[in-house]
């Protein structure tokens, strides 16, 4: 290793002699069946990577069409019905087929066993099943699309969805119903694995924060998703047989649907963001060579978010004539759930203090995350505040707010994680310069797309409008321009990551000089992960331990 201090921590093996390991999980077996029947968590993670990327670009295409239609006030690109199908598909695909499974399915599957020093997840077959279930749900969603689409909005609001639409509501509802089981299976698998499969010495407080975040998200998946499944079944029964549970004419309660739906769909937001927070903790620690500031607080804030996240759902219904007293309670709880997120942001910021910081691509995405998630979180406080919510709810303000959280937060974290663990997954580095360009492009494009939407929201433009009054056009044009930049920013990684599979520099086992157990084995790892189960004999994020270990290895070899 060179002694001069460079501006990067990346240390790669000598490229003239470096080679990928002879045998690893990718080349261990060949043939389609070896992938389709694999029980290896790393291969399943790659299956997830292909599928979520596929659905991300389909969902993204719909986003592009939506923004294109909104370039002009008139509904001139497509008819209103078609526009309604566009935003429904965009929402369904991005939420249920991309954001919910993306980080757990890809990074969680790949890394949880590696990080806790296990050879696989607790239930490898269940893991494969969860991918098949996901694909079945995804295929059915595409079927609903190909058969003619669905225009309920991703929220399936009754009685619109049950009595007033002639589109493929049942197909779409069943698709989401099925996809939910994939989420439940993944959650169970993670919970059991984290409880039962930790290597000797890996106590709860020696676990990387990535695991705490996934543990909290898994709890939400297991406890929340069944409620969504129930709700969708009730919608289907109401539509098919008119059982009347949501129909006021038969003594049903249309607000009941809202309660049931948001009982899942608010925690779902945390299912999408918590794993991302786990990624951020790992990257920030590694790129500033420091233990995360206040590890315990960050770990418990994940659990607190999961816990409080279940008791805020009614803040989606403040204007729907719910009792004022319950509104008071839910608004208060909403304020409380914002606090753990604030704690995390400050803890990450102070992790940088007295660190030794480098600015590789994953770190840039993390900085993007911190900025955008802060805005997303604070604008959530607007909506949690009872009186303010009246004016802002159901407008573009809400759209901008949740895109800041889920795209500015969740997607930025996903990209940070993909770049960070790309060398571990593939054995090769991504190209640094162009990927930095992509990170910056994404950040600029994102802000240009969604900042104008806050203003549109306060002006009162309702969401899900195919046409809008002409005075709102300027801000919509800005937003569409931003979306174009954003789309470009998302295409880039797709291209250069594929390129890097063949031409990327050989990464070696630990290019980041990171402390996690996953970095102490070859890249890509062998099928069995660890030749012998490791013993966690040091604290988490212990850079001194790593330095000593490296020194010892150099001495031994030399």
């Amino acid at each position: 290793m060179s002694t001069a201090v460079g501006n990067t921590i990346v240390s790669l093996p000598d490229q003239s002699t470096a080679q990928l390991p002879k045998r690893h999980y990718i080349n261990n077996e060949y043939g389609l069946l070896s992938w389709l029947l694999t029980e290896d968590h790393k291969r399943i993670a790659l299956l997830y990577l292909f599928s979520v990327t596929f659905f991300f670009f389909i969902g993204g295409a719909f986003a592009g069409l939506i923004r294109l239609e909104l370039l002009t006030p008139q509904p001139d690109l497509v008819a209103a019905d078609t526009y309604n199908k566009f935003f429904t598909m965009h929402g369904l695909i991005m939420i249920f087929l991309f954001l919910v499974p993306s980080i757990p399915g890809v990074l969680g599957n790949f890394l949880i066993p590696l990080m806790i020093g296990a050879r696989d997840l607790a239930f490898p077959k269940l893991n494969l099943l969860s991918w098949y279930v996901y694909m079945a749900g995804g295929t059915l969603t595409l079927a609903a699309l190909v058969l003619g689409g669905v225009d309920t909005g991703w929220t399936f609001t009754t009685p619109l969805s049950t009595h007033y639409l002639n589109t493929h509501v049942i197909t779409a509802a069943m698709a989401i119903f099925i996809t939910g089981f994939s989420s439940i299976l993944t959650g169970i698998n993670f919970i059991v694995t984290i409880h039962r499969m930790r290597c000797p010495g890996m106590t709860w407080f020696r676990m990387p924060l990535f695991l705490w975040a996934h543990y909290a998200a898994s709890l939400l998946m297991v406890l929340g998703t069944p409620v969504l499944a129930t709700t969708l079944v009730l919608v289907a029964l109401e539509r098919l047989f008119g059982i009347g549970i949501f129909d006021p004419a038969k003594g049903g309660d249309p607000l009941l649907f809202q309660h049931l739906f948001w009982f899942y769909s608010h925690p779902a937001v945390y299912i999408m963001i918590l794993p991302g927070m786990g990624v951020i903790s790992e990257v920030i620690s590694t790129c500033s060579r420091k233990r995360i500031f206040g590890y315990t607080a960050v770990a418990f804030s994940s659990v607190a978010i999961a816990l409080f996240g279940f008791f805020v759902w009614e803040h989606h219904m403040f204007i729907m004539g719910v009792s004022s007293y319950s509104a008071l309670v839910f608004s208060l709880l909403t304020m409380l759930v914002a606090v753990p997120s604030a704690i995390k942001i400050f803890n990450w910021a102070f992790t940088l203090q007295k660190g030794s910081i480098t600015f590789e691509t994953p770190m840039l995405y993390c900085f993007g995350f911190m900025g955008l998630f802060t805005i997303g979180g604070l604008t959530g406080v607007f909506l949690g505040s009872l009186g303010m919510d009246i004016h802002l709810t159901e407008t573009y303000f809400v759209v901008a707010h949740f895109h800041f959280v889920m795209v500015g937060g969740g997607l930025m974290a996903f990209l940070a994680g993909i770049h960070f663990w790309w060398p571990k997954m593939t054995g090769r580095m991504y190209p640094e310069t162009i990927s930095k360009l992509a990170a910056v492009t994404t950040f600029i494009g994102f802000n240009l797309t969604f900042l104008p939407q806050f203003v549109l929201g306060y002006l009162g433009l309702p969401r899900r409008y195919a046409a809008y009054p002409p005075e709102f056009q300027v801000l919509n044009v800005l937003s569409t321009a931003g979306a174009t930049v954003l789309g470009f920013g998302y295409m880039l990684p797709m291209l250069y990551l594929v390129w890097s599979l063949k031409y990327g520099a050989i990464a070696g086992s630990n290019p980041w000089q990171a402390t996690g157990l996953e970095w102490q084995i070859a890249s890509p790892p062998p099928t069995e992960n660890f030749a012998e189960i490791p013993i966690m004999d040091h604290e988490v994020y212990d850079y001194e331990w790593l330095a000593n270990k490296t020194k010892k290895e150099v001495t031994t070899v030399g």
Binding site: V5, N7, D151, G153, T155, T157, P159, L160, H163, Y164, P248, A249, G251, P254, S288, K290, R291, F293, G294, Y295, A297, I319, M320, G321, A327, L328, M335, L336, V339, A342, I343, F346, N347, A349, F350, L352, Q353, K354, G355, S356, I357, F359, M370, I375, L378, V381, F382, S385, L386, G387, M388, D389, I390, H391, G460, R463, Y465, A467, E471, Y543
Partner: protein, 349 residues
Amino acid sequence: MGLSPVLWQFLVNWLHNATLFPAEASTIAPYTDALYFFLVLMTIFGTTLVAVLVVVFSARYSRQRSPVATQIEGSTLLETTWTIIPLAIFLVVYVWGALLYFRIYNPPTNAMNIYIVGKQWMWKAEHPGGQHEIDALHVPLGQPVQLTMISQDVFHSFSVPDFRIKREVIPGRYSTVWFEATKVGRYHLFCSQYCGTQHSGMVGWITVMTPEDYKTWLEQSTSGQSLAQNGERLYASMGCNSCHNGTAAARGPDLAGVYGSKLTLTDGRQILVDDAYLRDAILNPSAHVTAGYAAIMPTYQGQLSEDGLIDLVEFIKNMQSDYRVQQTLVTAASGESAPTTPPQAAGER
């Protein structure tokens, strides 16, 4: 608001002219905007703080300047600080928001009432004097107006951004919202809850007029029949008067003056009779039987449109004696047109 009214007006007008901000056209708008500005400042402050921390630490502790990191476990003092301070700010927002919520949703007692029926994809406004409007609503300046709203099909949401008010319009139950306009002009009315194909076409205009102009408008737009008069006809034609007629032998309770009173039901519940109760009692009588009466009333579910229900509710609301009901019992067949009811045009109640 702690800001000089002149500066406030300047700020609001400047933002409005730059199309960054809606007009302030109701008494509520300045209150909402004050909280909004506070929240915007909070967001700018919070985001700037995070950005400054990241940039300063990045510059000061970059690998070139700080080759070796100093390990820090954490700091209870610092962590408590950034738990307590955000919590305190959020609690201020909570209390402020709650006060605003009650201000927006609690109507003053002198508010005049207008009925709104939402349906795919139009807004229908019904004034007590019988004026009907589609996708439009005329209201007087400086007079609190309460809207009693219901949907005939799916969820809609009645949103007037320039008044900063919005309320879900729900099938099967009345919801209410009120405002007091402070500026003459035309303001957007939006449906903000996704309601199907023509959701974005379910828009209209609120026209705020001076009280004199409004009076002229009321006179010119009347359909000749007030809602209560329509209700009276329905009351006779649906046969309500055969039981609810206030005679000694009546099989149904006397409805004169029932509105606003407290009823005891057969199941012992005490109920305040309001618009929603009247509507429910017509559609689902068996669950709303007044103590002392038999549950013999049939349901009118499916026989009355929401407009018809509003007419009936409005009639019962304004029914002070049974005199005219008993008259209709005798003269229902005579074909004589109903005499005009006392003035109950909006603005005079």
